[in-house]
Amino acid sequence: MNPVNYLYLAALLFTIGASGVLVRRNAIVVFMCVELMLNACNLALVTFSRMHGNLDGQIVAFFTMVVAAAEVVVGLAIIVSLFRSRHSASVDDASLMKL
């Protein structure tokens, strides 16, 4: 098997995640799809690291994980505060600038 297949898998997962972000309207599921896209990027970075025989790709993937963790914490806090004010987690309901 050619290791390029890992890249195709990463592209497929990224595409599925992107379609999910466009299609779904529950804010939590949209967020999960964003996580799926980040994970697909990490897979591509790890594969690149193996192809080129150096560890820099893994370092970038590691930083992506840290940023994803920070993003999840803030994003879920926003979702919880939105749910508190609107009693709904749908992204369609958040149509006003003011809570």
Binding site: P3, T15, A18, L76
Partner: protein, 274 residues
Amino acid sequence: MTGLAAAATTSTGEAVQFWILGTVAVIGALSTVLLKRAVHSALSLAGTMIILAVFYLANGAYFLGVVQVVVYTGAIMMLFLFVVMLVGVTAADSLKETLKGQRWLALGCGLGFGILLAAGIGSASLNNFNGLGAANAAHGGNVEGLANLIFTKYVFAFEITGALLITATVGAMVLTHRERTERAKTQREMSEERVRSSHLPPLPAPGVYARHNAVDIAGLLPDGTPSELTVMQTLRRRGQMRDVSNEALADLKALEQRSEARLGRDNDEEEVAK
């Protein structure tokens, strides 16, 4: 020639692993997008992430594989599940389209984007495949090699990551913190309020005189009607109160009918015997 060919492909075992686990990963990703309930989506995404961890391990990224399991599936997905439970498990996505044709347009965009990505990968000349053996062995292992890079070449990015994490923590605390607008009641005020209200004794327990004792099932009054007081306020507000009183009454009715039929038959038999 054979050496070059061997360097450009992986072992058969890894190929088998890739095709089996890759299929499962794609199925998990698809069910993340397609399943209606957020809990099911979260669980299938956790499965996909574990499979990605296996792929990291297969690619020689041992540290990242373990971190993927610990941080992503262990911490982040559990945080997701926590928020799903907080927001309401039963809150299913509405499937009504608010924008006409948005779903098909989104699918078309996704398909086009995927074709674009695949074509880009296909046309790139990715024939060199060095493997991580030398890079991992250079400093005595994968973790040591990563540490060597993080604390020398990427030390500035690493420091900034620390600042980012602190900012995210403070941000989450600020966003979820709720300011108390009124003074907290003292115990004395609460007890006085309780004496003034009509309910001095504790509220009745759920499930009393009903056939179940789950918290979401209202207790039945002696006449068979459910009592709202027995179910806690949160469940009542969410409308998650289950009502089994009709079931109990129907069961009772069926029992009465059956016994009546039996008695009637007995009477008939007695009459026949006479």
